[in-house]
Each structure stands twice: as C-alpha cells, then as structure tokens.
C-alpha cells in the first residue's frame, strides 16, 4: 500500500443491485434518458477547491480567473460555447494542463505547487476523454488492469477480478479479450470508464464523453454515467448533453470567456438563467 492515503468512502461500484444495466445485456438503446433527479442529495465536504485559476497559452488566455468548489458526491455539468475554455478547465483539474496562475487544492493539498507528486494526484482522479484514448495495443481487460497492476495497487489476480466486475457493470464482459479497434465508439467509451474506475478514483472527470459518438450510442454511455452518479461518485462533466445536465447533475456551470458566468442547481440554471450570454447560449442549443 506504500502509505497511500486511505480513500474516504470509495464509491462501491459492485453494489448495484437495482441498476438495470447490471446484467450483461447492453444498455437498452431505445430507453430514453430517465434521469433520476439527484439534486436532493447532500453535498459533502469540499474535495476540490479552485482558486482564481488562470491558464494562458502564450498570449491567449483561455482561463481567466476561475474560482469554485467541488464537494464530495456532487455531479457538476460544465457547459459553454466551443472555445470557452471548459475542456482546458477540466484538464487542469488533473494537471494535464498546468495552470499558469491561481491554485487548485485537492483534498486540502495544493497540487499546483512545485514538487507535487502529480502522478499520485492523478491516481486519485479518474478521467474519461472525448476520444476514449484506449490503449490500442492491449485487449480491453489489459487496458483496465494496466495501471492498478503497474502502480502496485492490486495484484494481477485482483486486478483481473476487478476488471471483469467492471466490465460486467458496463455490460461488456464478453468483450474482455477484444482489442479496442474491434469495438464501437460507445463500447470503447464504456471500457474507458471502466478503466478509470479500476483505480477507485475519488472523483471522475468527463471531457465531452459523448461528443465523438454516433447518436445511437450516446445513451449507452449516459446510462453508465447515471449509474455512477446514483452510486454517489463525485463527477465533473463537460458536456453538450443538456438532458444529462438537467436531469442528473446537482450543479450546472456555464463558462464563457474563460470565466464562470453562472453556477446554479439545474432547475434554476435552466428555468431561470440570470446571465445574458447563458440565455443566448441556451436558446441556441435547446
């Protein structure tokens, strides 16, 4: 265990008796999103605090002072027009982009400070990419097992058991020995989610997880995300899926011009937008 910080109440992935997708059958595509409203759940203690975050690429300032808190158990949707910096924001949270200003406190610890063990931080933060980024040279199962085994968090046998559990959970147990190139987009993304979950992360970041998918595959991925949310996982989701933002998330954030323009529970956010640019944005996407 080499002194790894003990996970605070990890999301118990395996305990999902009431989830419809728990059996191996793929998620029913025809089923419309049935978001179980999550707004009533109680936000826990602060997990991530972002203070005046600035990110500039040369002269181009993409994030211009973002301040917010992410509490345990929250599901936060981040929306905004393209190029607004929402992807950069979420990638900053696990330091894939190194901030040029401000700081990020993860579990009370400033992870933007020099000398921070970035890898240790990333172990605790799961990330799902728009382009899935599965390791092309490995089978589905190996994709999931690689990090836990290599970082000595699990033995090979444990990791394999975990991988099979997770694949069962995302409905892809029968694809364990296939290569990513043999899967559809939706299946790839579900494997990518399983791969992140294998690390027992304390928070999951989703960077437009359904944007690269064919329309009929969007729901199978959203359904998995719903399950995660129901299980109490802390999630930050950059998305264009207004249905998800509305129905599943506990908070919705609108970023434009590198700043947070609106930060509200979904009902208020959609019914009663205060920011003018958000109103324009919503009228164009809804």
């Amino acid at each position: 265990m080499k002194g790894k910080k003990k996970k605070t109440a990890p999301v118990s992935i395996s305990k999902q008796p009431d989830t419809p997708a728990a059996d191996t059958a793929p998620v029913a595509l025809s089923k419309p999103e049935v978001p179980a409203a999550k707004t009533d759940r109680q936000p826990g203690e602060v997990l991530i605090r972002v203070e005046n975050l600035v990110k500039a690429f040369g002269d181009n300032t993409v994030l211009n002072g973002i301040t917010m808190e992410i509490h345990k158990g929250e599901v936060i949707s981040v929306i905004g027009p393209s190029g607004c910096g929402k992807s950069t924001f979420i990638r900053s949270l696990n330091l894939l982009e190194e901030p040029t200003g401000g700081r990020i406190l993860f579990d009370g610890e400033d992870i933007t400070e020099r000398g921070t063990d970035q890898r240790r931080v990333r172990e605790r933060i799961g990330m799902v990419f728009q382009q899935f980024n599965l390791f092309q040279n490995m089978t589905v199962k190996k994709n999931i097992m690689l990090a836990p085994v290599h970082l000595k968090l699990m033995t090979k046998a444990e990791a394999e058991k975990k991988a099979m559990e997770l694949l069962q959970r995302v409905g892809l147990a029968d694809k364990a020995d296939m290569y990513p190139s043999q899967l559809s987009g939706g299946q790839k993304q579900r494997v990518a989610i399983a791969r992140s979950l294998a690390m027992n992360p304390e928070v999951m970041l989703f960077d437009e997880p359904t944007s690269a998918l064919d329309p009929e595959m969007v729901n199978e991925v959203l359904n998995i995300m719903n399950q995660l949310a129901e299980a109490g996982m802390t999630m930050v989701v950059v998305t264009h899926e207004m249905g998800f933002a509305k129905g599943v998330s506990s908070r919705v954030i609108f970023i434009d011009g590198g700043k947070i323009q609106e930060d509200a529970p979904p009902e208020e956010f959609f019914a009663n937008p205060r920011n003018e640019r958000l109103r324009d944005f919503l009228s164009s996407v809804l």
């Binding site: 599965l134 390791f135 040279n137 690689l146 970082l151 992140s196 690390m199």
Partner: protein, 522 residues
C-alpha cells in the same frame, strides 16, 4: 640459435643447387642495372620478341606498386592505376591498354591465362623493395636495417624470389622456416591476396613478404602478427597510426615522399617489365587458341567456386557479413530506441535537455558523414593502438551508424502516435517511462516496422565496405576469388545473388512479423 643457423645454411645450400640446375636469372645485389634480361620466361611458343616503347601510349600499373612510381617517368600518354594487377592485365587483354608495367616475377601467371599477351623485351627498371616504419621510430628502423642486412648477406630474399617465381612447373621451392620465437609481436602491415608477396592458397599461407617478415622477426627476437590492409594507402595509414610496426608490401626504397614513413634498406631487388599484346599474327593465333581454350561454363564454375575450396571465401565472408549485420542491428535498435526516447521526452515534456542536445549532435554527425569514413575513423583512430577483432570494429561502427537512422525512424513512429495515448497513461497516474514502454513503443514499433526493415536492408548492404579495414566479408570474399581466378563475372554475380537472397529473406521476415503484430489488433 644454433638450430636457426643450421636451417638457414641448409636453405642456402639448396638455393645454390637450384640456381645451378635451372640457371634462373640472377638478381643483382646492388642496382640491378647491368642485368639485361629479355622476356625469357614466356616466349617459348610462337611469338617473336616484341619491343615496346611506352612513349605516347596508355599504360596500366597497380596502384601503390613500385611500378607505379617508375611509370611516372616513362612519357606515357596516360598512366592508369588499378587496385589490382589482375584488373590492369584484364584491361590490357581487352585492348584498353597498350601495356602493363609490372614486376617481372608476376608475369608467368598472367601469361598462362592470357595467351594473347607476352613480355616485352628489356627491363624497364630495377626496383629495390624496402620495409617502412614510422618516421620517428629510428630505433626500430636501425634494428630492421640490421636484420635485412643479415637476410641479404645470407641470400634469403633471392632464394625466396626463386621459390616464388614459378619458372618451372612442378618445382617445389624452398621456403623460409620461421623459428617463431616467443616474444612480443612485430605487427607487419601487408597487402592480402597480393601474389606472390602475400596470399593464401589451399589453406596454406604463402608469400615472399610473409617469409621475409618471419626472417626479420626472427632476427628481432619477435613473433609476427600480420595486419592486412585493403590498399596501399591503408597500408601506410596502418603504420602511421601505429596499428602496425612495419609495412612490408613491395614498397619502393628510393622514394623521398613525405608520407611520415622511414624506409629501410632494400630487402629485395625486382625488375619491372612490360606485359604487352603479341605481334598481330601471333596475337591472332593466340586468339584462336584462347577461344579454343575458353573453358565452358561448368569448368568456370568449377574454377571459381569448387577448385581449391574457393567457395569457402564466400561462406566465410557471408558468415562475417551476417555476424556484422546481426550485431550491428542489435546495437542500432537498442541505441536507436534510446536516442528516440530521449528526443521525444524532450519534445513532449521538456525533460533531459542536455541528453537531447547530445542525441541531436550525435545524429547530425553520424548522418552527416559517410559510413565508410566512420568505419575508417573507428578502426584507424579510435582503436588505433588496440589489437581488436575487425568484426568487432565493424559491428561497433555499423551499429553506431545504424542507431542514428533507427532513432529518427522510431522518433517519427512515436510522434505519429495519438497524443491521447500519452494523456490516457498520464491520467491513470502512469509515469512517462511506463507509458512509453507499455503503450507507446509497442504501437510505434509496429508502425515503423516497414521502415526499420528498410534500414536493416540498407545496413546489410552497407557492410560491404568492411573490406576497407581488411575484413573478409562477403564482398571481399568474392574479390579474393576474383583475384585468384582473374574472372570478374562469376564471383561478382555469385556475391550479388547471395546478397539478394538474404535481403529477400529479411524482407519476408519483416512482413511476417508485421502481419503477426497486425493480427494482434484487428
């Protein structure tokens, strides 16, 4: 000591006996100027004596030979220098030259082969051959001078010249039997396959210079180690660089060249004559004879590859070529991947800037200079004073060379991998090296496999320059056969076919591997 003297005496006696019986030409001790010898050893059959005046004609010589020095003063319209005497004579026979100036005792073998040729009347000049040592090595110079003085006094060199002058067929000459004392080695630079000075025949090491070397070493209380140089230039370089103590390969005495070498007193006096076509009538008759004597294809195959186990030159050469290619490939792959990773680590993360600079410099230098120059530098400069197996030198040289190319190929392969693969590794908490070895390199390797295969095919063929450090690779093996049989076609074609065969095998191996790796993903 006693034994040695006894042996030498015996040798001398037999020498004297021989020269009585066969009345061989006498080689003058001092200048050789007064010896008037016509082309007596050749003209027994139809041809009338031919006189030859080189003025205004195109003549051929062997590069770096004593004859080449003489040729400069002959007013010939053009002096064409050949790497091998056999090549010069071949051109003469083809009518491309008017005459070839060469050492007299080398003529019989050519007269046997080319019926159209004969030796022109008169001795052109008489040359004295010396050994050469490094200019500042006066101590060794005087030691060797003393040894040569002794050798000449005992008539050993003249005896050897007789032995190696095949005037009468079937006559076994007397050889100098080395005493082979224990002691440090006298490294003697020689030109290999240079009959009659230094050559192999049927697994026997022969050569006039070779035996002179033993005689000198015996008098110095040393053993002999031969350093085979690829050309006369290389020969001098070997002595200049200290790889060899002395050069012994028909170097001319009187030369005042500022080549950094000091020449000893002559150990041998040799005459030079012109090899020329016979008179028209005789030539026509000879042409018919040659036509008739033209061996059929099977005979030629036999002569080139079967006789005297000559195919061994090809198999031994091939074995060396394969060894060099294989191990150079391993070094190239290992070092090439390392260089590529260093450069990518810098490009992606800005880490290891100093190593990156070194890697870039290395790649620039290696790619910016010819492989042959690198090979020569490694052999003559870096390993100048080290006695090291030439195959090892070649492996190092070609490995270092290949690494630069491999690294660029691999780097382009790594850069072609979707950055998302790096990010996925990062986001899972994997380190850069782990992501590299587990995720990126396996994919990059598969992508660049065709390009790598290409690089190794180039490498295989590039090793054909190994001959420049006197290493017998496949190409050189073919060369040796060529210099023995005086035939170009079959040995060269055989060598070409062998290379082609290996390249085809190599390509097949690469595409099989490619297919296997592809199957893993699709």
């Amino acid at each position: 000591m006693k034994i040695k003297i006894a042996r030498l005496t015996a040798l001398l006696l037999s020498a004297a006996a021989l020269s009585c019986c066969f009345s061989l030409p006498v080689f003058a001790e001092e200048t050789g100027a007064e010896t008037k010898i016509t082309a007596e050893s050749s003209e027994e059959s139809s041809s009338a004596p031919v006189s030859f005046d080189p003025e205004g004609k195109k003549i051929g010589v062997t590069k770096g030979s004593a004859a080449a020095e003489t040729a400069g003063s002959l007013k010939a319209s053009e002096v064409k220098e050949y790497d091998k005497t056999s090549d010069a004579v071949f051109s003469l026979n083809r009518g491309k030259l008017a005459g070839v100036l060469l050492d007299k005792h080398m003529t019989p073998v050519f007269l046997e082969k080319y019926k159209k040729l004969t030796v022109a009347e008169g001795t052109v000049s008489s040359q004295q051959f010396s050994a050469a040592v490094k200019e500042d090595n006066t101590e060794l110079l005087s030691e060797i001078n003393r040894a040569i003085g002794d050798i000449r006094k005992q008539g050993i060199s003249e005896q050897l010249l007789e032995t190696y002058l095949p005037a009468k067929e079937g006559e076994e000459g007397k050889h100098y039997t080395p005493v082979l004392q224990k002691g440090e080695a006298l490294v003697v630079a020689v030109l290999p396959d240079n009959s009659p000075y230094y050559y192999h025949q049927e697994d026997t090491d022969l050569g006039l210079d070779r035996e002179i070397a033993y005689a000198i070493a015996d008098r110095l209380g040393k053993t002999v180690r031969f350093e085979e140089a690829a050309s006369a230039d290389e020969l001098k370089k070997a002595v200049q660089s200290g790889k060899a103590d002395i050069a012994l390969a028909g170097l001319e005495t009187s030369k005042e060249a500022k080549d950094g070498l000091a020449y000893t007193q002559p150990y041998l006096t040799v005459e030079q004559v012109f090899l020329v076509p016979k008179t028209a009538a005789a030539s026509a008759a000879a042409a018919v004879e040659e036509e008739n004597a033209m061996p059929d294809f099977l005979q030629r195959l036999y002569d080139n590859f079967v006789k005297d186990d000559r195919w061994m030159y090809l198999t031994k050469g091939l074995w060396n070529t394969l060894k060099i290619t294989f191990f150079a490939m391993l070094i190239g792959l290992a070092l090439g991947f390392l260089l590529a990773i260093i450069r990518v680590a810098y490009d992606k993360n800005g880490s290891v800037p100093v190593l990156n600079l070194i890697a870039k410099l290395y790649i620039t230098i290696i790619r910016g200079t010819p492989a042959m120059v690198q090979l020569l530098i490694i052999y003559y400069v870096i390993f100048a004073s080290v006695n090291i197996d030439k195959v090892v030198v070649a492996v190092i040289a070609f490995g270092l060379n290949s690494a630069a190319y491999v690294s660029e190929v691999v780097r382009s392969g790594i850069m072609s991998i979707d950055p998302g693969q790096f990010e996925a590794g990062k986001s899972l908490g994997l380190s850069f090296p782990t992501t590299m070895t587990k995720v990126i390199l396996p994919q990059a390797f598969k992508n660049v496999l065709p390009a790598l295969g290409n690089e190794f095919i180039s490498l295989l063929k590039e090793t054909s320059i190994s001959g420049y450090i006197g290493l017998m690779d496949l190409t050189r093996g073919g060369d040796i056969i060529r210099s023995v049989t005086y035939e170009a076609f079959l040995p060269l074609i055989a060598v070409a076919l062998i290379y082609l065969f290996i390249v085809v095998l190599l390509s097949a191996g690469v595409s099989a591997l490619e297919k296997r790796l592809k199957k893993n993903e699709r």
